[in-house]
């Protein structure tokens, strides 16, 4: 261990110390607004440190290992660190008003959220099985408590469901890790990769000799699908999203999903590289993708609660994202070898802007109208034109209509699928997009066409207005100039590929 090791995880150290100070300050300070400011200051400081790590101010260049090579700082982890920290800033920054009126344990809310962010930052940079598992637990356990912090009974019920399912998925992941370790003899991604490469004489041999490894990887993928809110573990999503405090719902739907995809991509490209396991895995991901998209979109059709509706929509989006994961270019033919994962990274960045904007607006609006029912949003256009415009942009982006980022990301994902001979999967994706148009357009119809049914005045707090405006600008900007993210995403993907 050297000083550089600590520099590499300095963003995590800063955030975890901020969390501890928030817990302590909460005991002695009555002004809870100050705690929000402390949390944001900590996040911004760690954001500056992350930028410093990527620009070579603190270390020479990305691509270095730390703590006995269990943590790797590369462009991939930096991409996700920036995404996670900025989403965290957006969630905490806009939830100040929500916390002061709806949450009793204010210090715990902020501190636990910061601890969960720390876990995600560690998760995206870990390249060793035990580190992966410990950071997964660090992200999940604070979230269980956070879901329970709402004041009502549904919140407790949601938390219990989340606890049990997250424990089950953790066990499945752990069992997968045991198989990986048992058959390869190492917990390091690089060692497992070289073990798999060294036993490759023919494709048949690879799978017959290593079917233990295959079981391990399949278990791992199924367990991680809990984090992604994808098919085998999607049952918790609607209940938990509805019961949890709305900022936590936003956090779960964006940050938790991004971290899950990060660890999934790293396992595929760093552990497996480009060998014949990938063929089987590609089929597995295709199946999960088809089921997630279809279940999410069909179930969303009949929802009347906007949080439940967006919950099913995130399941569907996990399905679209998994199309990009399934598009493994094994044969190595074509212009852009890694367009699949590159599209996933771009999609995740755009999805963060889109979904955070939608959820944060819902926090602001539902505080005024006092309900999450869709009918409560009727006539929003007359009451607050700007709010309904921003909501419309984010919904259009979720649906995937140009000139928003949702459209461009679907193009990249579907074209990656076509390039890797998965045309059928792209077609299923397009059909699902059409199904999803029904319930997304229904939101717009209620907001813009339906007559208003209550006289409540819409007052959205300044912080939410500011952050959602930034989000809307981001949606349009990334949609018009996708190369802003795509180039970074390409470098990021190249940094995790083992050949």
């Amino acid at each position: 261990m050297s000083f550089q090791d600590f520099l590499i995880i300095s963003p995590e150290i800063v955030i975890s110390f901020t969390a501890i100070s928030v817990f302590l300050l909460d005991l002695f300070i009555n002004n809870k607004k100050f705690l929000v400011n402390v949390s944001i200051a900590g996040l911004l400081f760690s954001f500056i440190l992350t930028l410093g790590l990527s620009n070579g101010w603190l270390i020479e260049s990305p691509g270095v290992y730390a703590f006995f090579s269990s943590i790797k700082l590369d462009e991939f982890s930096l991409f996700f660190k920036v995404l996670i920290i900025l989403s965290g800033v957006a969630v905490i920054g806009s939830s100040g008003e929500y916390i002061s009126s709806n949450i009793e344990s204010k210090g715990e809310f902020l501190g636990l959220l910061l601890l969960s962010i720390t876990g995600m930052l560690l998760l995206v940079s870990s390249v060793e099985l035990i580190t992966v598992w410990v950071s997964l637990e660090l992200t999940a356990i604070p979230l269980v408590a956070l879901v329970a912090l709402g004041k009502n009974d549904t919140s407790l019920e949601a938390s219990l469901k989340f606890l049990i399912l997250s424990a089950v998925s953790s066990v499945v992941i752990l069992y997968g890790l045991v198989f990986l370790y048992g058959y390869s003899g190492s917990t390091y991604f690089n060692d497992i990769f070289s073990y798999i490469s060294s036993t490759t004489s023919s494709p048949e041999d690879l799978i017959v000799l290593n079917y233990g490894l295959l079981i391990g990887i399949i278990l791992l993928v199924l367990g991680i699908s809990f984090k992604l809110a994808a098919f085998p573990f999607q049952m918790w999503v609607p209940d938990v999203y509805q019961g949890a405090p709305t900022p936590i719902t936003a956090y779960l739907s964006v940050v938790s999903k991004a971290a899950g995809f990060a660890v999934l991509l790293r396992i595929i490209y760093s552990v497996l590289g480009g060998n014949d396991f990938s063929v089987i895995l590609s089929n597995l991901f295709s199946i999960i993708a088809v089921f997630s998209m279809t279940i999410g979109n069909v179930m969303a059709l009949r929802q009347n609660d906007i949080k439940r509706l967006l919950a099913y929509s995130t399941i569907a989006h996990a399905g679209y994202l998994l199309i990009g994961v399934a598009s493994l270019n094994i044969s190595g033919i074509g212009e852009n070898l890694y367009s699949g994962p590159q599209g996933v990274l771009y999609y995740l960045a755009g999805y963060a802007f889109t979904n955070l904007t939608a959820f944060l607006l819902i926090i602001g609006v539902s505080k005024s109208i006092g309900t999450f029912e869709l009918s409560g949003f009727a006539g929003l256009r007359k009451k607050s034109p700007l709010t309904s415009f921003v909501l419309a942009v984010s919904v259009i982006s979720l649906l995937g209509i140009p000139p928003t980022v949702g459209f461009m990301s679907k193009i990249f994902i579907f074209s990656a699928a076509v390039n890797t001979n998965l045309t059928w999967l792209a077609i299923v994706g397009v059909i699902n997009s059409v199904i999803s148009a029904y319930y997304y357009l229904r939101i717009l119809k209620i907001v813009f066409v339906d007559p208003e049914n209550n006289q409540s005045e819409i007052k959205v707090s300044k912080s939410i207005s500011l952050i959602t405006l930034i989000g809307m600008i981001g949606i349009l900007l990334l949609g018009l100039f996708p190369s802003l993210i795509l180039e970074i995403a390409e470098i990021a993907v190249m940094s995790i590929v083992n050949i």
Partner: protein, 131 residues
């Protein structure tokens, strides 16, 4: 190698079968002994009670426990875990500090600092008061 691997499960399977058959056999023998008048059959209230000795049971198992017990139990566990970590660290301190220097000491001080904050938190929240 794999055949050997699954053979190991055979031993567990044998154990399972034995563990099922022996108690079943004992119950069966005892039941048969009743028919040939070796075992008398006079049930009474005390014999059918939950425990054969000790105090008489006067309520069901399902009753509320005071939540405060758990606060104390959790706080106890914190210090228990602290000792579990401190003990091997103290035993191997000389070896570790030769290799890693002062950072070994700093790591433990950091750990104790975090644990103490947890204790202060519980104290200040009033979890140590029996109210």
């Amino acid at each position: 190698m794999l055949n050997n691997y699954f053979d190991q499960y055979g031993i567990i399977g044998l154990f399972l079968i034995t563990a099922t058959l022996v108690p079943l056999g004992m119950l069966l023998v005892s039941k048969l002994a009743q028919y040939i008048k070796v075992r008398p059959h006079n049930p009474s209230e005390i014999k059918e009670g939950m425990y054969e000795c000790g105090m008489r049971v006067d309520s069901d198992r399902w009753q509320g426990y005071n939540l405060r017990y758990y606060y104390y139990a959790l706080l106890f566990v914190i210090f228990d875990i602290e000792t579990v970590f401190l003990f091997p660290w103290a035993v191997k301190y000389g070896v570790l500090s030769k290799e890693f220097g002062v950072s070994v000491l700093l790591a433990m001080i950091l750990f104790l600092f975090v644990v103490t904050i947890g204790y202060v938190y519980a104290w200040k929240k009033g979890d140590l008061q029996w109210k």
